[in-house]
Symmetry: C2
Subunit: 211 residues, 2 copies
Amino acid sequence: MRRPDTKEIILDTAERLFAGRSFSSVSLREITAEAGVNLAAVNYHFGSKDALLLAVFRRRAVDLNRERLNLLREAEARAGDGPAPLYDILHALVCPPIRWTQQPGSGQSVFIQFMGRVRTDGTPEMRNLMDREVGHLQPFAAALARTLPGLPQAEIYWRLHFTLALMHYTITDLRRLDAISGGICDLADTDALIARMVGFAVAGFEAPVAA
Amino acid sequence: MRRPDTKEIILDTAERLFAGRSFSSVSLREITAEAGVNLAAVNYHFGSKDALLLAVFRRRAVDLNRERLNLLREAEARAGDGPAPLYDILHALVCPPIRWTQQPGSGQSVFIQFMGRVRTDGTPEMRNLMDREVGHLQPFAAALARTLPGLPQAEIYWRLHFTLALMHYTITDLRRLDAISGGICDLADTDALIARMVGFAVAGFEAPVAA
DNA sequence: CATTGATTCAAGCAAACGTATGAATTAAAC
DNA sequence: GTTTAATTCATACGTTTGCTTGAATCAATG
């Protein structure tokens, strides 16, 4: 039996380092050194650097999307037969990842940053995997269509896209808001942040369709 | 006299390759080979790989921000003594970069992608340079404060941040919208895209302040 | 205690990396 | 036409890269 579980330590360390810098700039030597394991352990347990990358991704991606879907289902259940409120749908979409970013120590916050890295630095194989992940967004599109029956299908996707933009950019570039605003924005209040973001998105969804 | 201008060719090639992949995964050998110049040319003309990176950034960043500021000033001039319309301000902010993405061959479209790379993959030195660049956003914050006198200062920065999110995410991840929507969104119509985006942002700015 | 299968380890491989160098080449100045 | 400075070139240096290997170590089974 392996007490410290080498495999898991490698995943944690790799996740953390990949969250901060590009994949190719993080070497296996750096990962294994920081993890306190032998260099060869990565290739023994995962096969290659690319495979390690995929393993890091898979470990938590499923959980994240399940959490979002659960929130959506709860919102729909509360609504009974009627359509779920717009606010609740968008809240279910952006709340889990933002919450995860504020869970230091659990590894979830690091994973969210890691996801941001994958978005821009992923291998083609990884991109495909992420695009398949977006299949999990379909229930959200369907719920939105029920709540906003007047909005064309394409328009729903556009605005869903914009809402994801708010979420992803806030996750990866919140530091820049600090620079722009001169520090007058309170970045620590997660609940207020989520409320602000969802409020912005709700208004955007309710905007008139451009001619 | 150097007819093909080695320096410029290197900048163009580096910009293009860096736009597509992370900095550390693009080698000088790859750049120089593709540019058709000698390997040593980079270190001769720029000094180092990092310095080349900075040179690529500097070459066009100023132009982009000047273009935005010009649009803002035009909008303010049209408004006379009154505040500029919200739509015009946000349009001035997001229009240039989005337009640049649709100028194939000019190098501008590649630069916008390159900027997206810098956001997530820049050296600390580069990050600082970008954060200094955001100083150019202050005129926009000021214009917004005049147009929306009831909105608290911090709220203005939050919503400015969200608007930048729409822009950046749309630039870097438009391809994903295609995957989510199953291709029913027309990504080619730039004017419609800008109108949609600005419309979304305007509604977000006009949303009530969360309790 | 001996055996077996799973892991860890130190060491090393070939390849690719950024950078440096001195000679060859080019273009302009005189 | 000779001189001078700027540029290009082939080549090489020292590191670092991802990955492999065969022996050593470990935990559990018989």
